[in-house]
């Protein structure tokens, strides 16, 4: 960068800075004088609580008005300027309040929704224990021909212990699985060692062994059928199954 361009550049920066500062210091226009106060107009509000009921239940309709001399609600008639009333409509209803006063007329509405009663056997939408177990308890993965729990699986097993400790009524099975490469009988023995290793980690941490069943599937029930390392790794695991 030669000297001339440097000077031009500096000038431009300075000009921009000045403009920016100038914008900040722009003077605020004085507020306009307040308008003369209008004649006292009525105010009105109406509400219903709760705003949804089942057919046969009741709700409380409340209203408040000011500067009103004549207050009425559609379907109810003339009412006090401020008050409340229990309502038991059989269908959904819109309550329309009209407040009249010397300053004019004000209206307000509120709606009460009436629903049909629920079927007797309502389905709860909260997740079951089995769903929670499946969502929270993570399988433990193993190295080839190994049954010791490797370092990168410690976080998973700690999280499993936490959940299992918090849900002390859940019993479960740990399935030992192997990849497809080895021999049937040896893999069943290896799967047994894997399931036992996971169980042992849990019981060492204080989980009651009577809650845990183990079973080996060897390579009899693979999760993934392809012949590559990604798939083999999927199949080398201790798999948690909720016990009904």
């Amino acid at each position: 960068m030669n000297r001339k361009t440097l000077k031009l550049f500096t000038t431009t920066i300075a000009l921009a800075a000045i403009l920016a500062l100038g914008a900040c210091k722009k003077k605020v226009a004085p507020p306009p004088p307040p308008p003369p106060p209008p004649p006292a107009a009525p105010t009105a509000s109406v509400s219903v609580s709760p705003d949804t009921i089942q057919s046969g239940q009741s709700a409380t309709l409340s209203w408040q008005t000011t500067n009103a001399t004549d207050v009425s609600i559609d379907g109810i008639g003339a009412v006090q300027p401020t008050g409340s009333q229990s309502v038991t409509p059989s269908d959904s209803t819109t309550y329309h309040l009209v407040a009249k006063g010397s300053g004019g007329t004000q209206e307000a509405t509120t709606r009460l929704t009436v629903t049909a009663p629920p079927p007797p056997m309502a389905v709860t939408s909260s997740p079951s224990e089995e769903d929670l177990f499946g969502r929270n308890v993570k399988d433990i993965y193993f190295d080839y021909d190994k049954s010791d729990i490797r370092g990168d699986q410690q976080a998973a097993i700690q999280a499993d212990m936490l959940f299992i400790n918090q849900h002390s009524n859940i019993n479960f099975t740990i399935e030992g699985h192997c990849d497809s490469r080895g021999s049937t009988e040896y893999n069943l023995a290896l799967g047994d060692q894997r399931a036992s290793a996971v169980k042992s980690a849990l019981t060492t941490a204080g989980i009651n062994p009577s809650r845990i069943k183990t079973i080996s599937y060897g390579k009899e029930k693979p999760f993934c059928m392809e012949e590559n390392e990604a798939c083999w790794q999927q199949n080398r695991r201790g798999h948690f199954v909720y016990q009904k």
Binding site: G182, A189, S196
Partner: protein, 485 residues
């Protein structure tokens, strides 16, 4: 040496060869040392080995039977045997179908036996004999057939019974040709006819194969998933007559038939886990066997049928246990950390057990005395499983992936190891995963599972790796176990 002189009446053969026992025995040990070497042998070496192997396999049982060293020629120069199709003995319409079954079965039995060379049917004259009077020796004992022996006969159905007459002739000994003459009768069914063919084939193999009983009536037990679940099945040794034994509806594995053939022990996934179950082939149903707890796998019979070895994790780790044949007196033979599985007894002595252990990493084959002492590792590297002891107690077969691990393209092949010297030879070379070898009762054949056809199926070969052929084709079939007789 001509075969006519060699095979004649068995009694004469016996007396001839009794004298040779000591010499041949020495030769054999020497040659075994030469050919079993720990490097893959070339084709020539394999051929030499194969013949010597057959000799080796023949040797021990022969000595035990105390009457024959079957001539060193048998393995190298097989008897040329002509087997013209049996002929109908009457005009019953059922004859044609049963003759086809009989002729096919007899031919396959003899062809698979490994002890004869069948003369191709294209060399046969147009007129073939169905009765002794119809044999024209000059045509059969000179080229093109140039047969040393001929098996022939006839079959006829009458009143719902099939009758088969069969002869074995030494066609070079025109003065006294008959080696064997047999007549069989049974109900006129395909199955019964097949059994007759097996029996007749066994008679021939017994006479031409050095006095070792044939295997044509032996059975192979195996696992098949063709009906949805892995269940225990059985079949004739040639793959015919396949039928389902168990209906557990879960996973059943590792069938092992008892030496007397009356029971099949296997491992099955029950409600409580992997248990040893016992199937009676006499009662055609399960019989009771105790529940041990833990994962119980791979049962194996002692040669006297009195005990079972198995793998159990009831004490925490998978170890080899022994119990009596009813499941009593269970006690552990091994201790340690690695999984121990797949025990098998020395079939001849019952004094040793081979098994698989992962105690040093990848699984290796070990041997120990039947009381658990003197544990020795016999494989030096790779992934070695599924040992099976030969009937003469001299060899182990195993499934071995010698080069194993990331980037190693090794495949699991069947190997044969001389248990005394730990020298080995590779028997399968043709790809696929090969596993679970099991010996035929005569020590001449090995049945195994292989994925070479694209999926797990059961294959059979001679114990030198030749005459490979597939026995099962439907579903996935695995873990074959050959009956003891």
């Amino acid at each position: 040496m001509s075969y006519g002189a060699e095979v004649c009446p068995p009694a004469q053969a016996a007396s001839n060869r009794m004298d040779d026992i000591s010499d041949d025995d020495k030769t054999q040990k020497n040659t075994a040392r030469i050919t079993l070497r720990p490097a893959p042998a070339g084709a020539r070496l394999l051929t030499v080995f194969s013949t010597l192997l057959l000799l080796a396999l023949l040797a021990a049982p022969c000595l035990a039977q105390d009457w024959v060293r079957t001539g060193s020629g048998l393995g190298i120069e097989k008897v040329r045997l002509a087997v013209p199709d049996f002929k109908p003995s009457n005009s019953d319409p059922q004859n044609a179908a049963l003759l086809k079954t009989f002729n096919d079965t007899l031919w396959n039995d003899l062809d698979n036996s490994g002890v004869v060379e069948l003369v191709s049917k294209s060399f046969y004259p147009l007129q073939t004999p169905g009765l002794p009077a119809e044999v024209t020796f000059g045509i059969w004992n000179s080229p093109p057939p140039n047969a040393a022996m001929m098996a022939f006969g006839n079959l006829g159905v009458a009143a719902g019974k099939v009758t088969v007459q069969g002869w074995l002739y030494d066609v070079k000994n025109t003065a006294s040709p008959q080696v064997l003459g047999k007549q069989y009768a049974d109900t006129a069914s395909d199955d019964a006819t097949r059994v007759i063919a097996h029996k007749f084939a066994d008679e021939i193999i017994y006479r031409l194969g050095g006095g070792i009983p044939g295997i044509a009536e032996s059975k192979i037990f195996f696992v098949s998933d063709r009906n949805g679940h892995k269940e225990i099945w059985m079949m004739d040794y040639d793959g015919s007559n396949q039928r389902q034994l168990t209906h557990q509806g879960s996973i059943s594995l590792s069938p092992r038939v008892s030496p007397d053939g009356s029971r099949v022990a296997f491992s099955s996934l029950t409600k409580s886990g992997w248990d040893i179950l016992m199937y009676s082939t006499d009662l055609n149903r399960l019989v009771s066997f105790p529940h041990f707890g833990g994962t119980n796998l791979s049962p194996a019979w002692s040669p006297d049928g009195a005990r079972l070895a198995l793998s159990s994790s009831r004490g925490g780790h998978s170890e080899i246990y022994i119990c009596d044949s009813s499941g009593g007196g269970l006690h552990a033979m091994t201790t340690g950390r690695g999984p121990d599985v797949s025990p098998v007894w020395n079939r001849k002595t019952g004094a040793q057990i081979a098994f698989v252990s992962g105690s040093t990493g990848l699984p290796q084959v070990y041997t120990m005395e039947a009381d658990g002492t003197n544990q020795q590792r016999v494989t030096d590297q790779g992934y070695a499983v599924s040992p099976s002891w030969s009937p003469n107690g001299q060899f182990l077969t195993l499934a071995w992936t010698r080069k194993y691990g990331p980037g190693e393209p090794g495949s699991s092949d069947i190997y044969l190891m001389d248990i005394a010297s730990k020298q080995w030879v590779q028997l399968t070379h043709d790809g696929g995963r090969n596993d679970f070898p099991s010996w035929s009762p005569d020590g001449r054949h090995i049945v195994f599972q292989s994925s070479r056809s694209g999926k797990e199926e059961i294959w059979e070969m001679l114990a030198d790796g030749t005459k490979l052929h597939q026995l099962t084709f439907t579903g996935r079939n695995s873990q074959p176990n050959w009956s003891w007789k």
